[in-house]
């Protein structure tokens, strides 16, 4: 059984919270970002237990603090949510009023490594965030390649790695309202399909198209920056999103999983634990 993690609320960001190592021995922060109509616990609860129970087989997780980001996913535009996610990461790395780090890592400093784990719309929000961060750094460094690379190396968001479960990057399949064939979330999906963000997630939308082209460009231009290519996992029963991703991504499929179960490990399906690490 793995070590105990302490729950810590992060009320500045809705119902976001963290599960951090009691002995402050983590060096990696894993930020989980749920999808359309989702919530942090209902999406990721199975990770809490499995990484503890299966720590012998997946010791990598013992070095991680877990952060579960909560955001309004139905009506708030993806660009706005990307900006807020960036603020969330900055907040985790910041100091409180007394000058102490809010979430110190094993070094006594802040975490050195960041992994973003996104599901569905969450994946799109993450990808928008890394592009926005690159744009900011490019501008700040007058588009000079060497300076950009140096700044990117020092930036934890641009140094992050992306693990995306059923990303909605190529669009959702619910243009007809009914791209849903899962049991648990039929109601949620049917209802969610009528909200604003649904339009942003339609294939080739003015929100999705630039994310794809900018990511591909950024990757070909800055191969050293690790956050543009993502590891992607789809279930072969996914009928909510298009099961495709960008050229730079490493895509795989899992038998017997759908859009919602793909990111929920259990005793018989431990691949999500392995996939994130």
């Amino acid at each position: 059984m793995g070590q105990y993690r302490i729950p810590k609320a992060i009320p500045e960001f809705r119902k976001s919270y963290a599960l951090v190592r009691a002995d402050q021995s983590a060096d990696t922060m894993v930020v989980f970002v749920h999808g359309l109509g989702g919530k942090p616990t209902s999406t990721w609860l199975d990770f809490h237990r499995l990484i503890k129970i299966c720590s012998v087989n997946y010791p990598w997780w013992e070095k991680c603090d877990l952060f579960f980001y909560s955001y309004e996913s139905l009506r708030t535009p993806i660009g706005v949510n990307a900006q807020r996610l960036g603020k969330f990461v900055d907040y985790i790395l910041s100091k409180d009023a007394t000058g102490s780090l809010r979430f110190p890592a094993s070094s006594g400093k802040s975490h050195a490594r960041l992994i973003f784990v996104g599901h569905s719309e969450g994946a799109v929000v993450i990808r928008r965030l890394v592009l926005d961060r690159l744009n900011k750094i490019e501008k700040a460094n007058s588009h000079k390649r060497n300076l950009i690379l140096k700044a990117a190396k020092a930036d934890i968001i641009l140094s992050s790695q992306l693990r995306l479960f059923a990303p909605a990057c190529m669009g959702t399949n619910f243009s007809s309202f009914l791209g849903f064939a899962t049991s648990l979330s039929h109601l949620v999906s049917a209802i969610a399909s009528s909200f604003l963000v649904r339009n942003e997630l339609l294939p080739n939308s003015p929100v999705l198209r630039p994310i794809e082209s900018e990511t591909e460009n950024a990757h070909s231009k800055f191969q050293q920056i690790p956050c543009f290519p993502a590891k992607v996992l789809f279930g072969d029963h996914d009928q909510v999103v298009y099961t495709a991703s960008y050229k730079c991504d490493e895509i795989d499929y899992e038998n017997g999983q759908d859009h919602f179960s793909i990111c929920k490990p259990d005793f018989w399906y431990l691949r999500p634990l392995e996939f994130v690490s």
Binding site: Y4, I6, S42, L45, R49, A181, H186, V188, A190
Partner: protein, 328 residues
Amino acid sequence: MTKDNRKHRLDNITFFLNMISDSGSLSAPSSSKSSLLDSTRILRSMGLVEATLWLRLGIEIGFFDEESVADDLLPSMGDGLSAAWSVLIEANALSSGTWCDFMSDGPKPTFMKDKFFGPLQKKVRTFDNLSDPEHLAYLLQCFLGFLLLTSEVIFEPSTMIFLQSIGWDTDDKWAHLIRGDSMSLEFHVAEFNIGFANHVQYLEQLRKYRADNVLFVSDRLDSINSILALDQKVGKIVSQRVILDRPHVKGRCFKLGSWILSIVNQPGPEWQEVRRSIFSQIARITESNKNDRPRLWSDFINNTREDIDRAERELRRDFLKGPSLAME
């Protein structure tokens, strides 16, 4: 108890207050005349009592610090609990007389501290294996999972609006609300449907989580008893918000399901599959008798057809009126 353990228990109280409470929800139900507050008054009251029950269970398994709850938290909650209990009694909102044992009867109910701590002081405790660190860690983990799932709905506005409406609104008001033709502007119509989805999802996930908790310790007989006891206690705590199995609510639930289906209507096998799935989901969460299901299914199909006809009539009427009139 180590100093570290005590610190964790104190930190857990802070965590609880941050995650469970929302905009002062652990205080008295507001007497404000705001219609939104009024639309959630019963559920806010229920949430407050429920949160107090979670606190007690957390103390019992060592997740919260007993002393701090007794000295710092409960004294500030007494008035709120009294007001909340009055609201629940007045609205006849409780389906069980044994849900909460720490509120006194009578016109001015009060919080009874000795009753609250009564079960914690019994010599024979429910959880008798807490000295085993591995078992305790697992039990705390399970408790935290339950708490986190509940934190996503307990004071969540759309869930509260939905539950109060489906449980206590008049038939007339309910019908207007689900069709979105109520004059009231107290909340977005879609919030209501989101509340429905949230609640259904919560019940489903709670069911799955409870099953998994037992599964994960199935090789340890000494742990199973504690996990089952935790499960039973959690079931009792959340029992009052599981209102979908109440007779008058069941019918409303199926009607709402058919209404949502009519909104997303698109003839074809995909939609028919969704219809079947939503029916099964509602039948399961309303704990409908299996023998009744053929009749319920038949009613559900008829209701859905009626709702679709109504929606199409409205669409035709808007079309005939033309855009200028429809804009008015």
